[in-house]
């Protein structure tokens, strides 16, 4: 089957590294929304891109950058939604207005535009919804109808639903425990909406991305997923964030989520093979893995 997607294009402008001031921090249920005065990042940012934070200060023992999707980038301000999953991200959630942070961005490839006239479906898992706010605005401005589906384990793990409600034509909510919206997975709503959809965009945990991409591909609908792989650098030098991705030539490579993603064609991610080394990945033979 020929691919439904082309690889996401490179960003229009290169990233910058800046020490910027935190001008806002707002608890949003289980998360914290940080607002940064970062005009040079804001003016470069395109929906789907992310920023990478140094955490803990100049002498920090936590060396690796924390990569977080950009939620909005307007008027010199960049907002991100942080989930305190470990000591590094917890440090970020403790920043207060007036504090400074070292941030690199915007990084990664943005979401490609929707096909002319297509109705777009945006699907978010947990704080992945933040990454789709800017895209929703962009799609609406380009004249597309937009349906959004936001899912999470529970109501306090949902994110950006208010923002999406103000922009998208429809917003459906699902939670695993039924504490908000319909009880169940996002695919409940996705399966109902897909018949009218021309393109799908998704951001969230890997199993959700897989389910959404598979559903879209089964109907012949192009889908683009923004992955949340763990990254050490965010800029393409550490080679830790690779996924098996089918390229334009039909061959699979271990591609870096930071510079070749985080947005990949949903039909180009070999979800089954994440965490393994299939024999047909370019260069697997040199690792001693041969065709069965």
């Amino acid at each position: 089957m020929s691919p439904l997607t082309t690889p996401a294009p490179r960003a229009e402008r290169p990233p910058v590294q800046r020490v910027v001031e935190v001008v806002g921090c707002r608890p949003v249920d289980a998360y914290v929304e940080l607002t940064l005065a970062a005009p040079e990042i804001a003016e470069r940012a395109q929906p789907g891109q992310f920023v990478a934070f140094a955490v803990g200060g100049e002498t920090s023992a936590l060396l690796l950058r924390r990569s977080i999707a950009i939620s909005t980038a307007d008027d010199g301000l960049v907002t991100v939604v942080v989930s305190a999953a470990g000591p590094g991200s917890a440090w970020l959630t403790e920043r207060r207005p007036g504090d400074t942070v070292d941030v690199v961005g915007p990084l990664g490839r943005p979401f490609p535009p929707a096909p002319p006239g297509a109705r777009a479906l945006l699907v978010a898992g947990g704080y992945g919804a933040a990454a789709l706010v800017g895209l929703t605005t962009q799609l609406k401005a380009a004249g597309h109808a937009v349906d959004a589906v936001a899912g999470a384990a529970a109501a306090d793990r949902l994110c950006s639903v208010q923002e999406l409600t103000g922009i998208a034509d429809t917003v459906a909510v699902t939670t695993d425990d039924g504490s908000s919206g319909r009880q169940g997975l996002v695919t409940l709503a996705v399966d109902e909406l897909l018949p009218d959809i021309g393109v799908v965009y998704a951001c969230g945990p890997m199993p959700m991305l897989r389910a959404v991409a598979d559903a879209a591909t089964a109907r012949g609908i192009p889908s683009y997923v923004a992955v949340e792989e763990s990254m050490a650098c965010g800029i393409g030098v550490c080679m830790t964030c690779v996924l098996p991705i089918v390229g334009e030539d039909g061959r699979t490579r271990f591609s870096r989520s930071c510079v070749e993603g985080p947005v990949f064609g949903g039909d180009r991610v070999r979800f089954d093979d994440v965490g393994s080394l299939p024999w047909d990945v370019v260069g697997a033979d040199a690792m001693g893995v041969v065709a069965p």
């Binding site: 290169p14 990233p15 910058v16 590294q17 140094a54 023992a61 936590l62 060396l63 690796l64 950058r65 590094g88 070292d102 690199v104 792989e229 763990s230 050490a232 650098c233 800029i235 393409g236 030098v237 550490c238 080679m239 830790t240 964030c241 690779v242 996924l243 490579r253 271990f254 510079v259 994440v274 965490g275 393994s276 080394l277 990945v281 370019v282 260069g283 697997a284 033979d285 040199a286 690792m287 001693g288 893995v289």
Partner: protein, 312 residues
């Protein structure tokens, strides 16, 4: 890149090749340099030390490939790379077109692989020299790397020196995971190495307390970052003391100019900044500037005067 004007002469050399800055990238920590272009003037740094190249393209290991550790990280990439054909077609011309000096790290599983790589790199524009990676822990043989055996290490170095462009210095990259690093240093130096790169990562392990299994797909991995700096510095010190005439490219946890200064004082005539680049993509240029200031503050007119100063 902040340009700090000091009166200190920062020039140094790799073997007989002069370079204007003693601060280089570290192999495996800056890919092939291009990704750093938005953050660093690549033409101003000592050189881009490339990720190790092998004869064939390599996929590298499956994920997870990385675990954060105290003041460092454990990696198990498995030398993912384009192979020598890709490097010669894409990355090296890109660097040369911009006037960026490169120092190409080569790796292989057999002595002949290294020699063939050295042959292919003869006279390639922009390639100052070769770093011979005989010490990557993330290869099939794991702990049994060439650099753990003075004889095996010498065989590789002698073959590379015989095959390589005479104008290109070759530096042997040594492993700290040995009983006596001086004996390996002496052996590869006698075999024709023009210099020594010290150190590669230390072999380490992290277990996830939740899954109760090793975190990395490759089980063990290479430990890098400031956590290993005292080990690296000790290695440089011991080897410089025993072989003061052999040039050393020092690396292992360098994050600041004062870290780099320690390596210079211990006997390194140039340094590579590795894992710190993940934390700060402009680290290579920053370390150069901070080192220049630190040397000036201590009354050195030239970097060369400070090399090995701690032994005097």
């Amino acid at each position: 890149m902040t340009v700090v004007e000091t009166a200190v002469d920062m020039s140094t050399s790799l073997g007989a090749v002069e370079i204007p800055s003693p601060v280089l990238t570290a192999s495996g920590c800056s890919a092939f340099g291009g990704e750093l272009e938005p953050f660093v003037d690549l033409t101003a740094i000592g050189a881009v030390v490339t990720k190790s190249v092998q004869l064939r393209p390599r996929s590298g290991r499956p994920t997870p490939r990385m675990a954060e550790t105290p003041s460092g990280m454990l990696n198990s990439i498995g030398l993912q790379g384009p192979g020598i054909d890709g490097l010669l077609a894409e990355e090296l011309p890109w660097l040369a077109a911009r006037g960026v000096r490169s120092f190409v790290s080569i790796a292989g599983t057999r002595v002949e692989d290294f020699a063939e790589l050295a042959t292919r790199l003869r006279g390639v524009p922009g390639v100052l020299g070769l770093e011979v990676n005989i010490s990557c822990p993330n290869v099939e043989s794991r702990g049994e790397v060439f650099a753990c055996d003075p004889v095996a290490a010498s065989d590789v170095v002698a073959a590379v020196r015989a095959a390589a462009d005479p104008a290109q210095p070759i530096y042997a990259k040594l492993s700290p995971d040995v009983t006596d690093i001086v004996s390996v240093a002496r052996a590869v130096s006698d075999a024709g190495a023009d210099g020594l790169s010290m150190i590669n990562t230390l072999l380490g392990l992290v277990i996830d307390p939740d899954t109760m299994k090793p975190v990395l797909g490759g089980v063990t991995g290479g430990l890098s970052g400031p956590a290993i700096r005292p080990v690296a510095l000790r290695c440089v010190w011991q080897v410089h003391q025993a072989l003061p005439e052999v040039p050393i490219l020092g690396m292992g946890g360098i994050r600041t100019g004062l870290d780099a200064l320690q390596f210079i004082l211990a006997g390194a005539s140039a340094v590579s900044v590795g894992t710190a680049v993940f934390n700060d993509p402009s680290a290579v240029a920053r370390v150069h500037d901070e080192l220049a200031v630190a040397l000036e503050q201590r009354g050195f007119a030239a970097l060369r005067e400070a090399v090995g100063y701690a032994h005097r």
